[in-house]
Amino acid sequence: MHNHGERQSVICPQVRLRWIAAVSMSVLLSGCAANNALQPTGDCWGTSDYRAVCSDRKPAVAKLVDGERGKRPPRDAGVTLLDYAAASLACGNYDEAQRIYYECIMLTNDLTLGISEGKASLMFDEAIKFWQGEAYERSMMELLHGICLLEMGDYANARVAFDRAIATDVLSVGAVAGLEGTVSKKGFAPNDRYTTKGGSVCQRDFLAAYVLRTLSYLFDGREKRARGSWEQTQAVAQELADAARRVSRPTASTTWTSLDGRYQYPTVYVSPYRSLPHDLQVILDTDFEELKRTNTLAVYASGSRPRKVRTGAMRGQRVKFVHDTYLAPGESVHHAGLLIDGKYAGPMSHCLDLYGQAAGRGPSAKDRAQERKEAIENVGEALQQHGVFGVQYIGMLIQAINQEKADIRQWGLLPNAIHLWFGHVPAGRHRFACVPLGQNLRSTEPAVYGDGVAAPFVQIGEQAWLTMYRTQLNRQPHHPYAARHLRHTVTSVSERKLNVLFFAEVFDEHTRLATMGTPHTYNLLPRRLPEGQK
């Protein structure tokens, strides 16, 4: 009895305290630890019917946008809204897509705010698992919003959207580079107080935003700025082309040396399937006077976003995560061309690839927050092993507060790549068709497999193309190279405005089954030191 009494006096208060701590923390955090908030929700990738996605998500979106104003939205609101917006855009409903993208932009906090506010808000949202998206998701949100505005003829705000996409993209690597140092004309200067001083290193592979910003300026009547923007665009394209040429292995990164004094961070990461920079040549070859004749822009959004996956030892909730996977040519379009009225109009420039965004930059601010949480978790666990009861209690509190479970929720319908074609098309009704080129046709037509343009199709035209596709599909109904790749529309072209055509790649069930179970993951690239510090 005595022993039992002793045990009661020693153990029970501890158990009680643990219980109290757990309950009080769970009340305080009011569901922050809810597991369902951390699950990837609404992954509608693999769809072949964007209209079905729109119908499916519409009630939830209406409730979020119109029905519950003033209330703090659910933690997954961003994912729901963005999937709906992406599906609306794929259906050609630009007005609706613009409205929802703008709601999402307002929903996400401004990560570009200063050190105190930006980071504080990031950490807070990370703690309560309010979905805020990775930097590349935010950039794409702005970019797709801008495409909607372009189509609607609001060129001034479209320019804002593309500038913001570029700025957010800068941030995504700035989260690292800003912490490490600053590059200026005088060279690299390490930061000692975690203070960004401007001019930080930026990843310049968001070429699509530069191109579209130029067109926005042009159609807003701001020729001077358009000219400057186009010069900048061509400089970025040249950097990308140089980087692509330097890559010897498909998964190798490239150092960045084309600008003197630039911090050698792997700012460009060329995808394994991005064979040659020939598609960028269109941008490099187009001078400003020729660009001014542009009245048509075709955008082809292909592939699926880099997937966030859990990696590392699955010990309890402690996981690291990287976000990188890539669809092979058989699973997605990597090179595309445009047919206008059955005639080949040229390749579409592969202007943006999120693969590089996710893999080539090192950890984002959110990744770093996640790493920090793991470290905090370790501290909490160590404190719990301490002999002193009060210290144990503190350790317990730390573990209860610190939600270190990896957040792998993501925007399901986010495309991986953006291909652009721009040029002059005579006024009138035309049929536009996006067709896959190059490696996408490896097994269907060996004759056109190669690095560049599918030359035979220039002659045989769209109908022959389609016939061949159908034949292939009939022979192999589950063949991954299905006719889904061929996207077309018939529309009236005007000389007086920028005619915008948006095509979203459609995925079929076969692709979904073939790839979802076997994600390829790559570790983030090793950190590189600035020149002189190696």
């Binding site: 401004d110 570009t112 705010l113 200063g114 700025a167 957010t168 800068v170 401007g198 700025r225 900048q232």
Partner: protein, 240 residues
């Protein structure tokens, strides 16, 4: 009594703190306890409005919170600009009141500025000016104003010559002055004192709002004023 403005020769005198009062006979109105009370309430109101923005001291820079195109900010800017413009001689030198068209609001920042915000500036300034000047100003019909704005779409402040304003306007549009607004932003680094010989740096963005009144015939700039607002640093607010 607050801020009483004595007009120059030949111009009506305005009580700038009470914009809504009619122009005529204002200078002769006796200073009553009621007006003093009104002024006190107005001052309190303005103070409260500014206080709502919860300014943050950053050295000598007062930082605003919230969006740079928030309702409070639009009202504040619209009011201040109208107060300044209402004193301009252009409204009092001729027999006929000038006809004004608000033709351009140019956004060079990285913040979205949709039609309702753009319209809000225009409406606020137009309302305040009309209230203060009554029959001393005529604002052209809004349909005509839209037509005019469309004609001047290719004209951009700071990029196109001001003289080009007058070139392509239809003759049937009668307008004496164009009113324009330009919003641009500038990143800055300020030092915030932490104690003796100690400070830390803070990145801010300064929003510069410039309003101009331009003679539609001579392209002469007859009035211009600007206002700055400092906000916490945001990379979205300036171009790459």
């Amino acid at each position: 009594m607050g801020e009483r403005l004595h007009g120059q020769d030949g111009y009506a005198t305005l009580d700038a703190s009470v914009l809504g009062n009619p122009v005529k006979d204002v200078s002769r109105r006796p200073v009553s306890r009621l007006s003093l009370l009104g002024l006190a309430i107005l001052t309190l109101g303005v103070t409260t409005t500014v206080g709502c923005k919860a300014p943050v001291e950053a050295g000598e820079v007062e930082l605003m919170r919230g969006g740079i195109f928030s309702e409070t900010e639009i009202d504040r800017v619209g009011d201040l600009m109208a107060r300044d413009l209402v004193r301009d001689p252009v409204f009092f030198k001729g027999q006929e009141p000038p006809k004004i068209g608000f033709v351009k609001v140019q956004n060079d920042t990285n913040q979205y500025m949709f039609g309702d915000v753009r319209e809000a500036y225009v409406v606020r300034m137009r309302t305040q000016l009309k209230r203060a000047l009554r029959d001393r100003v005529i604002f052209i019909n809004q349909d005509v104003e839209r037509r005019l704005a469309a004609q001047l779409a290719a004209w951009h402040i700071g990029e196109t010559r001001v003289s080009e304003l007058c070139d392509d306007i239809d003759e049937d549009i009668e307008v004496d002055y164009f009113l324009t607004a330009q919003f641009s932003s500038l990143p800055k680094v300020v030092h915030v004192a932490e104690g003796k010989d100690k400070y830390h740096t803070l990145n801010i963005v300064e929003l510069l709002m410039t309003f101009s009144l331009i003679n539609s015939e001579t392209a002469e700039l007859v009035w211009q004023n600007d206002l700055t607002t400092a906000a916490a640093f945001s990379r979205r607010d300036f171009r790459d």
